[in-house]
Symmetry: C2
Subunit: 332 residues, 2 copies
DNA sequence: GCAGACTTGGAAATCGCTTTCCTGGAGGTC
DNA sequence: GACCTCCAGGAAAGCGATTTCCAAGTCTGC
């Protein structure tokens, strides 16, 4: 491997000059020397050793991104937004997927911190496991003490810059809209009891119904994915709901599949709504009523917040927009 | 930031000993010293500086992954598979998304090479742009000269270990299956003319039809995504096809949407098939006939090949499996 | 009891780059 | 022309690990 020293020798200049020419510096270098260095670099095929550079500079041109699951379009969209920002700033992105294992999340933060990444972006809901959250927070604090920056998408539980989707409010607005269609008996496919996003959406939905004087929804817990929706919806319809709210779109898809398998028609027999408005799922039949979140923008915004961090942590609330489509119908 | 030297001092041992205890080495360290070092490390909150480690060791515990678009479930699945392998080997993953820009792809390889990553995994179809392919290859060669390892998912065009999906064969098998249903007039939503994956699938399909003595399919080009399928399918049905083959599932989804918008029923009026068998899209109605590829396994396998690289480049062909579902019907 | 083989611990060189500090010369002012 | 300020260029001190080489002990086997 050809090093900067090789280039400097070949160009007949000092190491310092070569460094200034090739790797940016505030200092000027005379035109002739500059040209000599550049020529030498291309002739020899010089490639910066980023590790050495990072060591000398004390910070890497890398940001870390921790998501639960890249295959989940929710996280894919967030990651995409964040990666665009990273790209525009000349940063590489290191991605870790936790598959919803909080231990792994902590481990990733620790690894990323060891990598001296410029910023860490944590995407995805916290859980109600306070011990794990505390340990994660300690890990983040350590990282921040070393000059690291942190932002997250989700709940403001880590004392970091946060892009907080309006889960409660969005679910509440959705409840109001569905009630406006004439529904009175609701069920919620609420996902895991411990997942805060799931909880907030469930709670917001229930509160809005209560505020309208409607009966409390029938709540069914399950996993936060497609199969969770598939498994839970049976109980929901058995309970007599005319409208089922799945706390995310992917679960709603599972619910639709299950209903289809049982010969229950949507929306004729039962209405179904989701949350997130995942782009990949917009061509579903029947088209899913949902709450739209600008996921890519949220990922982008979170990374921006981390990189342009100010003194105190900011929380940016992202409102969801209710979108009614064919999967929910007006009751006679 | 606390350094290894701090730890060594605090524990009253040499730097060498501290290093051997904390960062793995073939050398043994006595139990008592070992304990002292470990205690000191946790007390001080020591965290390895990976950049320094990489510099000293000459290689990073990182692999690079270059994909076209993370939001596309095809790449998300590949990435997921690769990331599981990386995780199991204690490697971090740096991801770059090219958004189908070959220049960016080359730039990423260059950056990753500067990062001294252990391996680079290139996912996604090559294009017919030979100049770009040559430059990419040069860049890869430079990286390999420095000890880097390369693997790709797609076509064997880079002289690297390759996981090659059986595009031609899969499309041919699909054609045969669809012909077996009685179809004779086919159209292909063939994607961009320059994309080799798209070409191969189209060619395989057409060849199989020819082999069966059936008329050549009507080929419509367009973009390789959902909107490409949406836009192209109109022309396909106008041409009188009873069965439309979209060269990937995402395009097929677009095609289904367009047909629905025009009141064309699938599969009653026209049959539609895709390719890839994207998991997220399995709950579509009508369920999509397609060719299944084990995407996550392919991503995983490619990274394994890169990491366990042998002398000469290997090519591993992955057969696709035809899956007929409701979107294609038997003609009377 | 002793030569030889293994171990364990430490000193110091190295990895490849950045950046501070110094030096000499060019340009400007009075 | 003397004095001062700037500025381009180089020498060298880090950055924080790893690892080679040595020295000193500890076991073996006879």
């Amino acid at each position: 491997m050809v090093t900067l020293e090789d280039v400097a020798k070949h160009a007949g200049v000092s190491l310092a000059t070569a460094s200034r020419v090739l790797n940016g510096s505030t200092r000027q270098v005379g035109a002739s020397l500059r040209a000599r260095v550049e020529l030498a670099a291309t002739q020899l095929g010089y490639r910066t050793n980023v590790a050495a550079q990072t060591l000398a500079r004390g910070a890497a041109n890398v940001v870390g991104l921790v998501v639960h699951d890249l295959v989940d379009p929710y996280f894919a969209a967030l990651a995409d937004g964040a990666m665009r920002v990273a790209e525009s700033r000349g940063l590489m992105v290191m991605v870790g997927t936790t598959h919803r294992d909080t231990e792994r999340e902590i481990a990733y933060v620790s690894t990323l911190s060891a990598q001296r990444v410029r910023a860490v972006l944590l995407a995805g809901s916290r859980t109600a496991d306070l011990r794990a959250t505390r340990r994660l927070r300690e890990e983040l604090d350590r990282y921040r003490e070393g000059g690291g920056r942190v932002a997250c998408v989700g709940q403001d539980l880590l004392g970091a810059d946060t892009v907080a989707p309006g889960n409660r409010e969005g679910a509440a607005a959705l409840a109001a809209a569905l009630a406006g269609l004439g529904h009175r008996r609701f069920a919620v496919l609420a996902g895991p009891a411990g997942l805060i996003t799931a909880r907030d959406r469930t709670a917001g939905f229930a509160e809005a119904l209560a505020g309208l004087g409607l009966p409390a929804p029938y709540v069914v817990h399950g996993s936060f994915d497609r199969d969770g929706g598939y498994a839970a919806v049976g109980e929901a319809v058995k309970a007599g709901a005319t409208c089922v709210f799945a706390v995310n779109d992917v679960m709603a898809v599972g619910a639709l599949a299950a209903l289809r398998d049982r010969g229950v028609r949507v929306p004729e027999d039962v209405s179904v709504a989701g949350f997130d408005d995942i782009a990949t799922l917009r061509d579903l039949v029947p088209a899913l009523s949902t709450v739209r979140l600008p996921l890519a923008d949220m990922g982008a915004r979170a990374l921006e917040m981390a990189l342009d961090q100010v003194e105190e942590a900011r929380v940016e609330k992202i409102p969801g927009e209710v979108v009614l489509r064919e999967s929910t119908r007006r009751l006679a």
